[in-house]
Symmetry: C2
Subunit: 356 residues, 2 copies
DNA sequence: CTGTTAGCGCTTTCAG
DNA sequence: CTGAAAGCGCTAACAG
């Protein structure tokens, strides 16, 4: 004549595994096994599951489980700009997709935005490993903390950091290759449109001071690659990777008399390049007759079908997959090395010899 | 006389708050306060922090904290397609950005992909509240579980579910409005290109059977809205929201003799509409003279500048923000109601009276 | 196959 | 302002 554990009319408190165990007449550990798929007789399991159903218990609390196991199954993905800006860039999105593919449905991706102000979230968030999508010096403190916590870290195209596994592409080399192509075609008066060099999102003239303060590895590498061929290459720093930015920069660079105008423009992303091409066309210039425009990325851009952009195709999804598999390996206690992926030059129809 | 758990010479195991407390010569609770910003004398706090530094202790373990507090600060965002497909759609990305804006840097967004196979992750992941971005019937089980767990849920443009707060836009109404506009212009032979009706990503003829099995609320609502005006409206179900899909569908619909060809096409998204327009142009048809094309969304589409698309502008970011603030309210124990946002008709240059 | 026993690392009453 | 005690809910040894 046991007092049946009348659960307060199901009001506030949820049932716990212990309650279920008691109702099923088994021990806690047995009940636990029933849920984690351990080896118990199917009769017992049935009994436990029935009890659970009765109590409206729907499985172990993830919080408790993660404390106990020391694992949450969550991988943090840290971006340094707001979500919209980050993922509007097709390469970044592709990389995220690659991560997700590799990690599988088994683990969730915790999107953490570190715009630099409060580094709090990243310190107090629950995750087992972190992937930085481009990481700049001002993450140093967070990185330090995660290192202390023994959280494996991987950076996709970020600044090199001790203890952070690097997944990179050959930005500098590929950029140099592209520049060499343009040089070979005969161009000598060039300009570039770079991606932002710092976290400041503001269009600006490309100056040496700016270059010195650069914190964005990708932009800097691409610039340095191009400068291997064109030593003092100048131009404009865009406020982001969009065709609008490219357009603005293009207008600025191309609205000059033919003798001063660059005969070729190296844009650091395809979106920028598309914008530059539109600017050229708006100025009644013909590409590539009047101006050669090359990009970087190999993005399939919606609605850009008139031209076949000369560019470098980078393995974007692959970057994500590599990062994902590095994380998996690190969590398994292995010690994988840095990853370096390579891009492929694609000569399209937007490049040609200079006029005249 | 308990056996003291000797932590293997500080090798693997991290220091805990208890260790710090001991070294600082204070109690655990005091040490805790030092980190959570509770009220303790600054002398004591200093002592604790120094001890922490000495032990390489970088703050409370998020897992333990979240168990103790019953809160993790994580909001789950559930999408039903792979990351790439979901966020390539500008509206979905904008909504995600809205969520992130509203929730602030304080809380992380846990991206959970529920493609229907293993519903495991969503059940075992740590989060305090969930936001579904479009949710279909096959999430029923997960929803059931979360309800049992008392996890607040919000669905952006999903199927209605008991206990899931709905954030919707006036899909049906707006679609009807658009259809009415086309009707007023004099069109009588129409076709539509819909978004996928189910999780199957495959282009298909729009049939009644398909409509009956539809699980995607958005697509269905937009279709029903249009059918309020054009009762038996037929057409094609696209495999996704992209201009490529629109192009394929457009080719299919428009490659017919003028007498059979629809004089107007209602596309369920702007990307689809752009594709349809390209198809029309590829077939040497002039928009809107030979065919009227309208979209839905109000997306700014890269590189689509020749036309001003007739469409309906939906408050995409706003959807996300509303969901975010609903989550905040729910977590605070309030009981906010469903949210319904409205779209605005935009008459551009891609619609006009039928030829002849 | 099942039960007993200890905590995971932290916060939070409750006293002093 | 500080300390002592009591778990949050679960799982992992280890016995039986």
């Amino acid at each position: 004549m046991g007092v049946h554990n009348q659960p307060h009319a199901g009001l506030a408190s949820r049932a716990t595994l212990a309650d279920v165990a008691k109702l099923a007449g088994v021990s806690g550990s047995t009940a636990s096994l029933a849920f984690s798929g351990g080896s118990i007789s199917s009769a017992t399991r049935e009994r436990v599951l029935t009890a659970a159903r009765e109590l409206n218990y729907s499985g172990p609390d993830p919080r408790a489980r993660s404390l106990r196991q020391g694992r949450s199954g969550i991988v943090g993905v840290i971006i340094e700009d707001r979500v919209l800006n980050s993922f509007r860039d097709p390469m970044t999105l592709a990389a995220l997709d690659g991560i997700s593919q590799e990690l599988g449905e088994g683990s969730g991706l915790l999107l953490l935005t570190a715009t630099g102000d409060g580094e709090s979230t990243i310190q107090s968030a629950v995750f087992d490993a972190a992937i930085f999508m481009g990481c700049s010096p001002h993450l140093a403190r967070s990185i330090e903390i995660m290192r202390q916590r023994n959280v494996p870290m991987v950076a996709i195209e970020g600044q090199a950091f001790d203890g952070v596994l690097a997944v990179n592409i050959d930005n500098r080399h590929a950029s140099a290759e592209l520049a060499a192509l343009v040089h070979t075609l005969g161009h000598r008066r060039l300009a570039t449109v770079t991606l932002p060099l710092t976290s400041v999102r503001e269009r600006a003239q490309l100056t040496d001071e700016l270059v010195k303060t650069a914190t964005t590895a990708v932009s800097l590498d691409r610039l340095l690659g191009a400068r291997q061929v064109f030593a003092n290459l100048g131009g404009i720093v865009a406020a982001g990777s969009s065709s609008d930015e490219g357009f603005a920069a293009g207008m600025e660079l191309l609205s000059r008399p033919a003798e001063e105008r660059p005969t070729a423009i190296l844009a650091q992303s395809d979106l920028l390049a598309v914008g530059v091409i539109r600017a050229a066309e708006a100025l009644a210039l013909v590409v590539p007759r009047d101006v050669t425009v090359v990009g970087f990325d190999g993005a399939r851009i919606e609605g850009f079908t008139d031209h076949d952009l000369t560019t470098v195709r980078q393995p974007a999804t692959e970057k994500g997959r590599a990062a994902g598999s590095a994380v998996t390996a690190l969590l398994a206690g292995e010690t994988p090395g840095d990853v370096s992926l390579s891009s492929v030059l694609h000569v399209g129809s937007t490049s040609g010899p200079p006029a005249g």
